[in-house]
Assembly symmetry: D2
Homo-oligomer: 309 residues x 4
């Protein structure tokens, strides 16, 4: 079965919206504390180009950790698998996304995967460009291409707020610099990374990006190849094994689709060969995932038969 | 594309057999040290009932960790998801399969998932039965049903060898008993667990079990439901997120199918809606997976388009 | 200045007794839950043979972890330093006394010191004797010699209670057996260890043992050498660096004398060249030390100038 | 027995000098790689003012971790015990001196003691002064007062070399800043800390500082109180429980005196009521202590009866 109307989605979000009350807004990024915890919007973008939405689907939010998948795709395109996986591993971890302890235990001190902060910082460190501005331009161009919208940009206030409070990420960076996993100026890297996290769009834009991954890298409207298929597949694999923070395993069991969440409350889903999904619901569970968003995906996965297992 | 002849498979195993030289036999289970490290056999069992094989497909081997998936299915059938996941988690871990350290950190001291030893012991502890014999009978009956062969049994010598050297598993058990994750007599549990690990079959038998999981629990020949579909799906999910020890993430990227390996050199694959796979190749890589077996699955996945991502 | 009367001590314990209300009885050893948390007794035994006491100084209690120092002395006498420190380290640890996680990290899996449970079990495992009974006889003889009292024995009910609930210690033992740090039958070892912990005496007896350590191994009354001086010194060193659980560092700063506590509420002190101290006060702080006992030692150390620093 | 001539010391260093060949120069601080690994010098400064020396006793070296004790004394004088121990603990640790993992486990993220890098950075962060220059002036004045020499200063080249490569310390700082254990500008702190570590003197100067600690804070020549006695005692206690890196426990057993080492190869000893000791021998064992220096202290402790146990 397939979603065929906005009404269907409207009904679904009405059903799951009450779950928002069990979550709360992220508290460690000052600029994100001001969201309305009842907000909920969703969009589905099929690989055939049709799309549906519900809720305030024009409401913008920042990508936060969702951006890790996109940067990974770009960096794999630019550097190749071998170079990337020399610096960051492929294995899920039972530790929190911002943990530093495991890095000290591992020899070499290589982050376990690109979805935890250490790994994502190492990935962003590999974006090519002669300086931080050129690196940013390449990333932003790539995002705009995926969304097919030249207006997509980032939220300066959120970026600044995160940059100013990024001491844990600073600690991760200097630790990895010591162990030669990352290189160059750390403040530049954090500046780039916090801008990346602050890239802003609405759930329809996000669904469109998800659709590119779902279609193995092909733009569902123009038919252009934006991401080589094997790289799109790698990204979807990471979304399954470590896309939903420390609840990735449970999400794989209950929902069963590649997805990546961010502490802004966004979730990007990519159902292979079928559709991309964009969700925004800022009330988070204790693992950092949108409470209502996860519930919505669980329902949609059952109704539309999305599980890959 | 689909495998349509034994010759195809024979050719494939000839191609990958040389990789065996980069691996070595498991060394900590005395009875398994005597295998021939060049051995390699494979079988594919399609959900429509057709099957193919290559190599010494009648050669028997013990399931070892592969048995964890089967016991999990049985215990989920007997106790329901809620009861099972109260005692064992759903999350992958970056730690080794036999690690005890994480248990001490976690509150409660619940094993992260049923594929690491701690979790598997907790699962075996939930097999129902009035005593250890009845529990064993139920497990063996279930395995025989899956294979559709009443002669399947276990290797007594291997079981004894593992029981006698199971001190790490004893440590895990007593630690979990202290924290009330498991209950009852520990020696009984280890006796049952080591018999479970020593269940013996050939790669064709194993492929047939894989096919039941691939077909969402339906016997591909008789059409009978042996495992409820939602439970078959849970098992396949664990096979993806944590089925290949500490190389599960890499395997998901390179092969992309649900699979579970054992230190005997066996691998069971389950390609959703398509086929089950059984492989035996006792030369292991440093993570504990069959070197040639993993290489073979990588090739087959590419040729037959098996990746779920 | 030196203590010269029982009255002095009576006054001191009256002053510190109220601190007992901030502590509580140990809760994980069933047989120890029945003590009176207001109890407080103390004895000082000078190396010249004079002694003083206050409170119910005939009240018996079990040694628990205090026994670790005595067994260490015996095992060093029997096996020599080299053999002992091949199996157990000399370094303090920041981890809890019953932790297993560090053992997994260390290569080899050698307990950091003989005062944590893992190390103490490894030490007890080295008591010489053809069987567990002979080992026990030797330990008990040694204790009786130190106390100079043939009636000293152990509390059977406490020993049994601890044996029955010793699953964490079982886990430690099997882990160390796997790594060849300990050898032989584990249940025998735990039987011996729990008897050792249940050795029972009053605070005057304990002060007398402390005095032997204070006098570098010489019996303060008979003048006999019960412990070679270099071994007595080793024991006192461990008492300073790791004798008071995870509060050893703070105790060294605030009190500054070699001391070993047990979860029964006992503390044995050994002020080099001056005196031994025995204290019983079963209300424990969160680290497992007698609240009133620690306070009392702090006061006595100031008044009598006991700090070794 | 007491040292009464330079000849005695000359003979002792001739005996232990060969041990230098089992050690090697520190390798992670570029500017320290150029020392002569055969160097060995020693000085003893008795609390009565007499002093003896041997070897190239005018050869200067940087204090490195030895400076941690001096800064701790200053900061305790300036801020009081309560304020200091709110930010840094009193317990020894089994982890390496530069480890960050334990900080993540502890709640709050308070360094276990002031002798590991995390704790020392937190201590330096508490030096009072309106800016980094004033803080440095106060520290340097304090050091000059202890040595009674206004010419004592720091090695700029070593300080710069350490500052430039201080990425692990940066990681520790940002981690602690995140957890509000330290405050203010991190680069300023590291600038101050690396100057502190690069304070330079010879072994006679160092012995004189040790003598102040040995004499409970009193200058052995002028009789002035430079450090309140309870603070001198606290410092000596930390020297025993955690002054010799991860070999503090072994050193306490084999030598038994308060001592602090640095990776430059310096060791400062403080034998309560007797003397201070300064040693320089840049060939280090694997724990980071001067090989010949430790051996020398072991011999001297036996000959002169220095053990406090």
């Amino acid at each position: 079965m397939e979603c065929i109307s906005n009404q269907e989605l409207e009904q679904l979000i009405d059903e799951v919206r009450p779950y928002s009350q069990y979550g709360k807004l992220v508290d460690y990024i000052p600029a994100l504390k001001e969201e309305n915890s009842e907000d909920l919007s969703v969009s589905i973008f099929h690989v055939n180009g049709t799309f549906f939405y519900a809720g305030d689907y024009l409401k913008k939010f920042t990508l936060q950790s969702i951006s890790k998948v996109i940067t990974l795709a770009l960096v794999l395109i630019q550097n190749g698998e071998e170079a990337v996986f020399e610096r960051v591993g492929m294995e899920p971890t039972g530790d929190p996304f911002n943990s530093i302890a495991k890095l000290e235990t591992l020899k070499p001190a290589k982050p376990l995967n690109p979805m935890i902060n250490a790994g994502a910082l190492a990935v962003t460190n590999m974006i090519q460009g002669k300086d931080v501005d050129e690196k940013w331009d390449r990333l932003l161009s790539f995002v705009r291409e995926l969304v097919n919208d030249d207006q997509v940009s980032y939220n300066e206030r959120v970026a600044k707020s995160e940059y100013d409070t990024a001491n844990l990420n600073r600690a991760l960076c200097y630790f990895m610099k010591q162990h030669e996993v990352i290189e160059g100026n750390i403040e530049d890297l954090l500046f780039l990374y916090t801008k990346q996290c602050a890239i802003e769009m609405n759930c329809s834009d996000l669904a469109r990006i998800g659709a590119v991954f779902a279609a193995n890298g092909v733009d569902p409207v123009t038919g252009r190849v934006l991401i080589p298929s094997h790289i799109a597949r790698i990204c979807k694999t990471f979304m399954v094994t470590c896309g939903m923070y420390n609840a990735s395993g449970e999400f794989a069991i209950k929902v069963g689709i590649p997805a990546k969440s961010g502490v802004s409350g966004g979730i990007m889903g990519a159902v292979p060969h079928k559709c991309g999904i964009g969700i925004f619901g800022p009330a988070l569970d204790e693992k950092g995932n949108s409470v209502a968003g996860v519930k919505l995906l669980e329902k949609m996965s059952q109704i539309y038969g999305w599980s890959i297992f």
